[in-house]
Chain length 340, copies 2
């Protein structure tokens, strides 16, 4: 698989490419399945439909890897928290975490068992996926998942989570540790179900100042990565802490691929990190509104990464109103122009 080769810094005939949130609302075929499923969570829990939408971007766009369709918040859901998705509001936990008692009540074993719909979706997808395409499993970072559990919903400034961080850091560490232990087992089960690579999404890394990022987020991501690399060295681990361009000089540890968000100049990430890691990224997702902007962005990124280990991707998820034609153009352009 060219994607896996790139993760492990082996030579590839062209730069492999996929898109975060590629199984998503910009695809009419996804919308059709989503409508059939009912709501978002029902789609996550129906392994056949989840597998179907995971495969769509491979068939329709020709991306080099599928990522399993799911959501980072199925983990706290199956640990025992009540989760609902509200239109326009996003995910909501009606009973956010305030106490150690609540944290102790979260059930790791139950979660790892109940998440079988994710494992089933992975197995079915791996079975149907062409042999040369990789299947990516994933989870949210402990910090990013914790922010939702602490805020109760998406937040503009994560003030509640950070209030706890500064007022009661031990409580936050307890929650992060519980999540970390759960996520290790969750990712292990994903490997056993057929995942060829794993990505840890730290979408709210940028909510943390430097010291706090390394203490409360990155260290837990590394703990997860170390566990995978020690036990499953053939499975590449991708870490994606979003928006940490100021912290690049301090990133180190045992993982394979560093995901670069669009706000980080790729030349900075290259100079700091590409000696040790394959870099993944980082086209600004809004460039997909315009073919000219795609062409200019792809050309620049390929030029910056020339001779370095690189997986092409957007620098964040694809937006719902991107024309499918432009997404196709992007994927084809990367594959063709990097092969020259």
């Amino acid at each position: 698989m060219i994607f896996i080769d790139a993760c492990f810094k082996k030579p590839t005939p062209y730069t492999p490419v996929w898109m975060m949130r590629q199984a998503g609302r910009y695809l009419p075929e996804y919308m059709a399945v989503r409508t059939k499923a009912g709501d978002f969570l029902s789609l996550c829990k129906d392994y056949k439909l989840a597998s179907e939408v995971s495969l769509q971007p491979v068939d329709i766009l020709g991306v080099d890897a599928a990522i399993i369709f799911s959501d980072i918040l199925v983990v706290p859901l199956e640990m025992g928290m009540k989760l609902r998705f509200e239109k326009g509001e996003g995910p909501v936990f009606d009973e956010p975490i305030f106490t150690l008692e609540q944290i102790n009540a979260l059930d790791t074993q139950k979660a790892v068992k109940n998440l079988s719909y994710v494992y089933d979706a992975l197995s079915l997808t791996r079975e149907k996926l062409p042999q040369d395409k990789a299947l990516i499993g994933f989870c949210g970072s402990p910090w990013t998942i914790a922010t939702y559990m602490l805020e109760g919903k998406g937040s503009k400034n994560y003030a509640q989570s950070k209030r706890i961080l500064y007022e009661n850091p031990e409580l936050l560490h307890s929650l992060l540790d519980k999540l970390t232990q759960t996520l290790k087992l969750y990712l292990e089960a994903q490997i056993k179900a057929g995942a060829n690579a794993l990505q840890v999404f730290d979408s709210w890394a940028s909510a943390l100042e430097k010291e706090a990022f390394f203490e409360f987020s990155f260290s837990y991501m590394l703990e997860i990565s170390n566990f995978i690399k020690q036990n499953y060295p053939h499975i590449p681990v991708i870490l994606f802490p979003k928006g940490v361009s100021g912290y690049l000089a301090h990133i180190k540890g045992d993982f394979d691929v560093f995901g670069v968000s669009w706000d980080t100049p790729l030349e900075l990430a290259r100079d700091s990190l590409s000696q040790h890691y394959t870099l993944q990224g980082n086209l600004e997702p809004c460039r997909l509104y315009s073919k000219q902007a795609i062409a200019e962005g792809v050309k620049e990124i390929l030029s910056i990464m020339k001779g370095k280990n690189h997986i092409f991707n957007l620098g964040h998820g694809i937006l719902p109103d991107i024309p499918v034609e432009n997404a196709k153009y992007f994927i084809r352009l990367v594959q063709e122009s990097s092969a020259l």
Copy 2:
């Protein structure tokens, strides 16, 4: 004025300090005036009340500078756009900008004239403010103001503004140019009314990838700054593009102070910029929830900036639920420990 001296890199007996959004909801005295005024916009438009709340943090906390109480969106409001503030939703323009015709209809002269309530608030505040305290006038950056005019309201990803940026950059440049010409005259009038220093807030700088930031935001901020520095060299100009830690190496131009947001490691900003500029910032605002976190943060920042030109501030606005006692502790701690 110690604040102005620090802007101009003159020695000061201690590190001057103020807080972004210091005239704000965390102060009971502010809430009392706000209730008297009715809604937020009415408070902006009542120059006596606006002046009263601008002075409160100087009296209550002993900060070294007052910033005039206003909002960056009074400019598009007075250029002719209908603006309302919705509870929980923030500012809303019911008729966002889509066309050149709409941009051409925006009225610079009318705005500069109608904004007299801001100038009156500045004059009254300067009159009442102790001689050793500076008065800061401000505006939003053209890009940041434009995002509101294009999105119609606050946005999570600025997709509409960036769609225009990539699809129709000329239209965006027209809007930014119109705003820039207006803001020059607006800031000039603020100087004439008594402002001792000016800050340009680019709150949504971080919505732009590097090239786009310099083309669509920073160049316009510099145009404004150049105009001020050429005509009013005794007035320091502070630029505050939030969240650009990856772009520091490319920041240059004619201004005096660079505002560092909390997400930017201060040592990076110091190494890139403090040879040419005074740095302002950058305590993580959530540290104000805890006195211990304040003490640790203040100590570290003073140590990083030792021997360099520095104005202490938060790295973003103070949050509404910060205890006043902690804000007082922060201000006093900076003034006392930097004097040693």
